[in-house]
């Protein structure tokens, strides 16, 4: 008879978060990407707002949307860069859980802590849930914090031009609250599955990191003008990731078997 203990799950969450808190190198790695994701669009918006009458802005805006008038080019570009930037923002909820989970799951093998852990009453399902929560909680928190800082920074930078709050808007709110957690789940799931197979945290990180590439491809398509970002576009991507998340759940359930883990890692 299988049992599921929330106390044991919380024990894993507590231990992994405590370990993360004491791992300064990991904390800096976790914070580096959000800093870039937040600072870059604020810088771009500031540049547009400082010289709204620059003719090159009109040329750029009309490259993407020929009907845009020169006087509205700066505002159009502000809105466009924010819509396009969301795909880069999505790298964060994928990448941060990859960093944490690769370390937390494959790290158990490297540190030889897996056997004592599996010899305790914890079930493989509790272990996966605990490890995933310990990865998702900081990842989603970092994403929310980064979004809050981004909103403040962009609104301050855009105020002279927009005279209104440009962020949060509907697309970003939907993206941050619905799509980003789906991506975080995806990043965590991929890292957990790969870690369970390779058992080396660096290799797990490198292999899991490859799953960020499709987002970079989408960003290239958007900045090149071939893809048009918007709520529907991101909702479609979110739906695809939701399907992948379900597939990951099924695979994780199969892979996280005590015997399989012991045979592979022991």
């Amino acid at each position: 008879m299988s049992t599921f203990s929330v106390r044991r799950v919380l024990a894993v969450v507590w231990k992994d978060l405590l370990d993360l808190k004491k791992n300064r190198g990991m904390l800096w790695s976790m914070l580096a990407l959000p800093m870039v994701v937040v600072i870059m669009p604020i810088g771009v918006v500031t540049a547009y707002v400082q010289r709204p009458d620059d003719v090159s802005l009109a040329v750029m805006a009309q490259y993407y949307e020929p009907t845009v008038k020169a006087a509205q080019a700066a505002r159009y570009l502000v809105d466009k860069v924010l819509a396009d930037w969301f795909v880069i923002y999505l790298v964060m909820p994928v990448f941060v859980p990859i960093l944490i989970s690769s370390h937390a799951v494959a790290g158990e093998k490297e540190k030889r802590t897996l056997e004592p852990l599996l010899a305790s009453p914890i079930t493989p399902l509790e272990l996966v849930v605990g490890k995933s929560l310990a990865s998702l909680i900081p990842a989603v928190s970092v994403c929310l914090l980064a979004f809050a800082v981004l909103c403040v920074g962009v609104d301050v930078a855009a105020w002279p031009l927009a005279q209104e709050l440009v962020l949060p808007n509907g697309m970003w709110a939907f993206g941050v609250l619905v799509i980003a957690p789906l991506f975080a789940f995806f990043g965590n799931g991929i890292a957990v599955l790969i870690s369970a197979r390779v058992g080396d945290s660096r290799l797990a990180q490198q292999l899991s990191g490859l799953f960020v590439l499709p987002l970079v491809g989408l960003a290239a398509g958007q900045f090149g003008g071939w893809l048009k970002a918007g709520t529907t576009y991101y909702a479609l991507i979110g739906a695809l990731v939701l399907v992948l998340d379900v597939a990951i759940l099924v695979a994780a359930r199969r892979l996280f078997d005590r015997e399989r883990l012991m045979s592979r890692w022991g």
């Binding site: 106390r7 405590l18 802590t113 056997e115 305790s120 012991m262």
Partner: protein
Amino acid sequence: MNGLVVEGLAKRFGERAAVSGLSFEVKQGEVFGLLGPNGAGKTTTVRMLTGLLNPSEGKANVCGVELPLNGDGTALRKRVGLLTEQPGLYDRLTAHENLRFFIRLHELDEARAWARARRYLERFGLAGREEEPVGGFSKGMRQKLAIVRTLVHEPDVIFLDEPTSGLDPQSARTVRDAVAELAAEGRTLVLCSHNLAEVERLCTRVAVIKNTLRTVASLTELRREGLALDVQVEGEASRFAPALAALPQAPGSQVEGSRLKVLLSAEAQAPEVVAVLVAAGARIHSVTRAARPLEEAYLELVREEDAP
């Protein structure tokens, strides 16, 4: 029942048989040794008995829980303790945090379990170091902390893989004393070790395995399996070794000056050995029966050609 019974246990990984045909019984309160060379299947056996691996064949009963497991094995793992070969501690966490994690995994009352853990920490000389990160601990301190972690949930059956590895003589003695006390409390202990001296000090019986079960015996029985004769001759004993080697089913012999230690495969060989030595011109001062060193018995049992 708080001991364990193993019947025909086997484990295969694909086509490779890691271990097969294991049958033995360990009584409650007994300290039982599991001996065997590297790769003999000791760790696989312990992993099966702690529910980490499913047996391919056979069954076992560990403190009342039947193997193969019917369910997730939580009930079994709450009642067994496993000290793994590597301490397996979280370096960034303190000793207290490491133990607290396992106290929580076992869903114990934290205050009571911690009070118990502190008694063990004190016993093993780790009192006052609880709030230090384990990464700064010496190998011996890590090993002792891992032992405390193994005991923190008061298991009925305890599996110890090389428990005194890396410990200084004083700490090793503390661990040995603790093992004896745990057995006196009625806990069953299974000790995996290559350290025969330690096994001799702690265990009452042993199982010698090398992928298959070679023997289960008390240490006294094991030493007796094949009698040894201690023969004192006049002059250099090595002169008579060739005469012994010519005997059918030649007994093994060791020479130390004028002493000849002859390892017999059967008691009936003794008169023949003496007769051969006399025929070879030996002037015999004394012949005494000697217990065979455990090491001899062990090495003979795990020798490849002796496989049953």
